[in-house]
């Protein structure tokens, strides 16, 4: 049985489990979603949006869709994966199952619960009907696949006028004890007017014994004047792969920043879509990708400027060693009525490896005339003169390279607003680049 | 030459000029001074015909003819020149090409043929020398990458080329060091004669040391609140604008 067939059968199983009321809206959404997936199946390289990323190798495994055992892990074994130096709220999943033992949440000013409860409980019906699956791309078949199976993941609702002081950590551990596991977390994050929140998301496999493929979908709603800082830390083990789809809708005067740090994992695909549905919105997309060996990362972004007087700033940097491949596909669409839009998009890459590849598609589609839009893309190497200069002053070539590479990514690191996280990211970068940095 | 009567003008319903009366005769130099926001720049824009501003009342006569219905280019042809406070950059269009186009547009308006290339070149050389302009600026894109001083010098160079009847210098001294200021003022003085007139718009008295006005007007809150000779400028420099309010 191939994976697609297995998925379709599993869907019926899920229906029979009775988790979801078959009369509910959610049931209808799921049914539509599974049919959409059934129709197109997994994306192939023939599709323009998947031209440079193949899922073929990932899909040859016999994934289980529901973990067979309930796994527990000791805190001391995974502490390093959490930002433990500071106080934070933690929402932890192990193989897709919520771990109350490792988690640490509150209900003050916010509502945090499991996606499965939010979809089921009458208390959430209004809000779920209003938000759930409203901004996803229905043409994206793997998003549809996630929608059909949405039970894992978190529901986070920050109420009006709430400044959430402590960051929220959203951690998905994969024990890799099943032969091959397909995880499908689904998050819904709603930040109401005047509220601020910082979220750190991480997918972490714990050993390379088996394989986990994660197909994650997150919907984020920033209401008026909301501020959201979101950090995606992708430093997974070699065996695991991630398909991450994030959809953001913003209302007037809101500011949303998504920072994506891709260092680990086998294959990573980040789909990131911003929909600006109000005025004076600021959308920020930052990313650093540092890859080696045969790693592959595809950053696929879209910013829809639907209303006037909004801004978007996009900055992605990539360093590719060995036989790593990187893809940057950035699209900015400026609607006819979105006058006075400022949209900037920049993608800079350094190829280190003999067999490394970068494919970049920075696109602009402009339908309004009074706008400032630009994009730039560079591919190159380290500045030979700078290397020589540093060597002349006694710094080894390797160290000089490391420093220059670090400097290359620095403007993205500088944007990190949580000092402890900044420190960690800096360390991760140094580690990945294999240089000592005097911090 | 220029006669403005009871001029009211504003932008998007907000009245900025509230009844200006001003008469400038051939051969005269007038200065309009006033604090920020008094309407100085609006006045120059309205005379030049910037469509951002709406004239609600009053009249502007140039040589006894109303120019209110004329487009900015027609006003230019009729002899109105405005030196911009912030000269605009036009990428890819050289200063030479730009001024050539302007001169020939005016000639065509006057029913003349294009100026032969030879004469054009001679004229450009002559006027560039007057402004002590390095000729490399002439072949660069209009105002692009020019320093503040270079831009203003370029403005007066264009004035020299177009030989206007009425030259309005809008805050021409801003952004100029003293040497550039002298060159610019010197250029203006050389161009002045009994058949043309100059209207200097400025916040500070500094420029008026070099371009000496026959009359000074103080603009405040959209009206000329005081007029006098050049001594008025010194008085303003000393006492500031507050005593007039």
């Amino acid at each position: 049985m191939d994976l697609q067939e297995k998925i379709l059968t599993s869907f019926l199983q899920l229906e029979n489990k009775g988790i979801i009321d078959l009369d509910s809206n959610i049931h209808k959404i799921r049914e539509k979603a599974i049919n959409a997936f059934k129709k197109t199946g997994f994306p192939t390289k023939k599709e323009e949006e998947w031209k440079y990323t193949s899922l073929k190798k990932l899909l040859k495994y016999d994934y289980s869709l529901f973990p067979t055992n309930e796994n527990t892990i000791e805190l001391k074994n995974v502490k390093q994966h959490l930002i433990h130096e500071i106080d934070s709220y933690k929402i932890v999943f192990i193989d897709g199952v919520y771990s109350s033992y490792l988690s640490d949440t509150t209900h003050e000013g916010m509502d945090i619960c499991l996606m499965s409860s939010a979809l089921k409980k009458p208390k959430y019906k209004m809000i779920i009907d209003h938000y759930f699956d409203t901004i996803t791309n229905k043409k994206d078949s793997i998003t549809s696949l996630n929608t059909a199976f949405a039970i894992q993941g978190a529901f986070i609702h920050i109420k009006k006028n709430t400044i959430v002081e402590k960051p929220i950590q959203l951690i998905h551990f994969a024990t890799n004890t099943e032969k091959a596991l397909l995880l499908q977390p689904r998050n819904l994050i709603i930040v109401d007017e005047n509220s601020h929140v910082r979220i750190v998301e991480k997918h972490q496999g714990l050993n390379n014994d088996n394989i986990t493929l994660t197909n994650s979908v997150t919907e984020i709603f920033a209401n008026k004047r909301a501020i959201i800082d979101y950090y995606k830390i992708q430093d997974d083990i070699e065996n695991n792969s991630l398909l991450d789809q994030t959809y953001i809708q913003q209302k007037d005067n809101s500011i949303v920043t998504i920072n994506t740090f891709s260092f680990g994992g086998n294959t990573t695909r980040n789909t990131l879509e911003f929909h600006q549905n109000g005025e004076h919105i600021d959308s920020n997309l930052n990313g650093i990708t540092i890859l080696n060996k045969k790693q592959h990362v595809d950053n696929h972004t879209l910013v829809m400027h639907n209303q006037p007087n909004c801004e978007s700033h996009e900055l992605y940097k990539g360093i590719y060693a060995d036989s790593a491949t990187g893809v940057f596909n950035g699209k900015v669409i400026v609607n006819k009525i979105a006058q006075k839009t400022n949209a900037f998009q920049q993608n800079n890459n350094i190829l280190l490896g003999d067999k490394a590849t970068i494919n970049s598609k920075p696109q602009l589609e402009i339908f309004a005339d009074d706008v400032k839009c630009s994009h730039g893309c560079t591919i190159g190497q380290l500045d030979e003169m700078a290397l020589f200069y540093m060597q002349q002053r006694g710094i080894s070539k390797k160290e000089a390279q490391g420093l220059l590479l670090y400097a290359f990514g620095n403007d993205v690191v500088e944007k990190i607003a949580i000092p402890e996280l900044k420190y960690r990211i800096t360390k991760l970068i140094a580690q990945k680049l294999n240089v000592k940095l005097g911090f | 030459m220029l006669k403005i009567t009871n001029l009211h003008a504003g932008v998007e319903g907000t009245e900025i000029l509230k009844g200006i009366n001003l008469e400038i005769k051939a051969g005269e130099v007038h200065a309009i001074m006033g604090p920020n926001g008094s309407g100085k720049s609006t006045l120059s824009s309205v005379i030049a015909g910037n469509e951002t501003y709406e004239v609600s009342q009053g009249e502007i006569l140039l040589n006894n003819e109303s120019i209110l219905d004329d487009a900015p280019d027609v006003r230019s042809h009729k002899g109105v020149f405005m030196s911009f406070q912030y000269p605009v950059e036009i990428p890819g269009v050289t200063t030479t090409n730009f001024i050539k186009t302007a001169i020939n547009a005016k000639r065509s308006y006057l029913g003349l043929d294009d100026l032969p290339a030879k004469d054009m070149l001679k004229l450009i050389k002559e006027k560039a020398a007057l402004l002590e302009m390095d000729r490399k600026f002439l072949s660069r894109s209009l105002n692009q990458g020019f320093s503040g001083g270079e831009k203003k010098r370029n403005e007066i160079f264009q004035m020299a080329m177009l030989a206007p009847k009425l030259a309005i210098l809008d805050e021409t001294d801003s952004g100029l060091d003293i040497d550039a200021l002298k060159i610019v003022a010197n250029g203006v003085n050389k161009l002045k004669n009994e058949n043309n007139a100059v209207l200097v718009i400025t916040h500070y008295q500094r420029l008026l040391d070099y371009i000496v006005p026959d009359f000074v007007h103080v603009l405040h809150n959209g009206k000329i609140v005081k007029s006098g000779g050049k001594e008025l400028a010194f008085e303003l420099e000393e006492k500031g604008y507050d005593w007039l309010k």
């Binding site: 006819k336 190829l351 490896g353 067999k355 893309c377 591919i379 | 990428p91 005016k106 264009q158």
Partner: protein, 482 residues
């Protein structure tokens, strides 16, 4: 006129077959509409082509039949019905006119704006001319000069007869029959075009222009151009002209192949001003062109294009930088107004070491038009030290048009350096006012600003061409601002 269908043709053929031999006496000037193997054989026969050419065409037809019309470009149009097109019409003799008074007044107005001389106007409209500017004698002089240098410049059909070895060796090697839908169609049915060969080490002493091409009889619907610059040679080739071309044919699918052998240089300039349709977007030419160049060692190919015409344009002049140290350049200005749609750009395929490419693309959109840049820069794994610089600028005029940029950048070599920049801007109110103040009216000011915007591209055109192209830009944008 009733459509002359295939059935009619068959009937006629059956009737005439014995009498005159198969296809030997098709004296009708236009073939029946529709496309099948018989029609292709007939075209080939009509051109008195050798068997290998006929077979080549038939092979292309077979390939074409299996292909689908592409729809990835950012253009919308009603797809042509390929079975309702007549694929061959002999060059019609233009009616001789006695004076320019008989020429369409609109056309004359346009000529005047473009600054085309009276004599030239006469020539273009087939008005009888005096001895001084007899184009035939001009052409003869040209031919003599070229002949002395050993340069071959002739219609492609003539080259198939006279220089089959060159045609056989190169045709279809740069743009293979199966390259794309329109290239396959062109390969099957092309009827017209130019052939040019510059021998080793020869520097072509003049701009070669289709304009002066000898024996030319109107531009065909499916043009095929083959240009070979042998080792160390140089040629500058001009295609098209600024004068508006009204053409009955709605679909144009040309193929241009350039071969620059070691150390050769080709400069290929195009001004395209096909009928763009009226202000409502009705009519107008569909221009689907495949242009590609191969650069061998140290060779250089430079494409320069000014595109103002056609209702729909689909065109990507490309360079395959196969040889080490070869250079590819693309300079383009595309202006769209009213309902025009242009999807144009280039492909730079870097295969050799130390290869360099430069792309400067300027798009001006006005009215309700859509203007897209689509380009590929590919650096192969063996292309050490490859360099590319790309700049795409768009200028929007008004709020009903669109400007789009779709660059594809693929890099598989870690010593390559690429830079891509794109900007979008509009003509500022402040720029217009400044020009107005200096006495330049709005229309003229726009022309001035657009010319400044396009300067880097216009500068690449041969002198006389540039002057006309500049005027053409102005005319194309007339009335685009209220």
């Amino acid at each position: 006129m009733n459509k002359y269908t295939e059935e009619d043709l068959k009937k006629e053929l059956q009737n005439q077959e014995y009498e005159f031999g198969f296809y030997s006496d098709l004296n009708s000037e236009t073939f029946p509409i529709g496309l099948n193997e018989d029609v292709i054989r007939a075209i080939s026969k009509k051109k008195e082509e050798p068997q290998w050419m006929t077979d080549w065409r038939l092979d292309a037809f077979k390939i074409w039949k299996e292909m689908d019309e592409p729809d990835w470009a950012n253009v919308n149009y009603e797809k042509p019905d390929f079975q309702s097109i007549a694929y061959y019409s002999a060059p019609k003799k233009k009616e001789k006119l006695d004076s320019l008074d008989q020429v369409d007044a609109e056309l004359l107005k346009m000529y005047a704006k473009l600054g085309i001389s009276i004599n030239e106007q006469k020539r273009m409209n087939n008005v009888a001319m005096d001895i001084v500017v007899d184009s035939v004698s001009v052409a003869t002089t040209f031919k003599k000069t070229l002949g002395e240098k050993g340069i071959l410049f002739m219609p492609i059909s003539e080259a198939i007869q006279k220089h089959p070895e060159l045609v056989k060796k190169y045709m279809g090697t740069i743009v293979p029959k199966k390259d794309n839908f329109y290239a396959a169609l062109n390969s099957a049915v092309f009827t017209d075009g130019s052939f040019c060969y510059i021998p080793k080490g020869v520097r072509c002493p003049m701009e070669l222009s289709t304009y002066f091409r000898i024996n030319e009889g109107g531009t065909g619907q499916f043009e095929r151009t083959l240009l070979i610059a042998d080792e160390g040679s140089y040629v500058s080739y001009l295609e098209g002209c600024t004068a508006p071309s009204r053409d009955e044919n709605q679909l144009h699918a040309a193929v241009v192949e350039l071969i620059a052998l070691d150390d050769a240089e080709i400069k290929y300039s195009t001004v395209q001003n096909w009928y763009p349709g009226n202000s409502e977007g009705l009519g107008g030419v569909y221009n689907f062109v495949t242009k590609r160049a191969l650069c061998e060692k140290n060779a250089k190919v430079s494409w320069t294009q000014v595109e103002t015409g056609s209702a729909v344009t689909w065109k990507y002049p490309s360079c395959i930088l196969k040889g080490d140290n070869s250079v590819g350049e693309f300079y383009s200005i595309a202006v769209t107004n009213n309902h025009q749609q242009a999807d144009t750009g280039t492909k730079m395929i870097h295969l050799g070491k130390n290869t360099k490419s430069t792309i400067i693309s300027k798009g001006v959109s006005a009215g309700k038009s859509q203007n897209s840049y689509r380009g590929l820069v590919h650096i192969g794994s063996r292309a050490d030290n490859a360099r590319n610089f790309t700049q795409c600028d768009s200028l929007l005029m008004g709020n009903n048009c669109g400007a789009h940029t779709f660059p594809y950048i693929e890099c598989k070599n870690n010593s390559a350096q690429l830079e891509h920049e794109a900007t979008t801007s509009k003509i500022g109110e402040d720029q217009l006012f400044y020009c107005n103040q200096r006495g330049i009216d709005t229309e003229k000011a726009i022309a001035l600003i657009v010319n400044g915007f396009s300067k880097e591209v216009l500068n690449k055109l041969p002198m006389e061409f540039a002057v006309e192209a500049r005027k053409l830009l102005e005319i194309s944008l007339e009335g685009s601002v209220g």
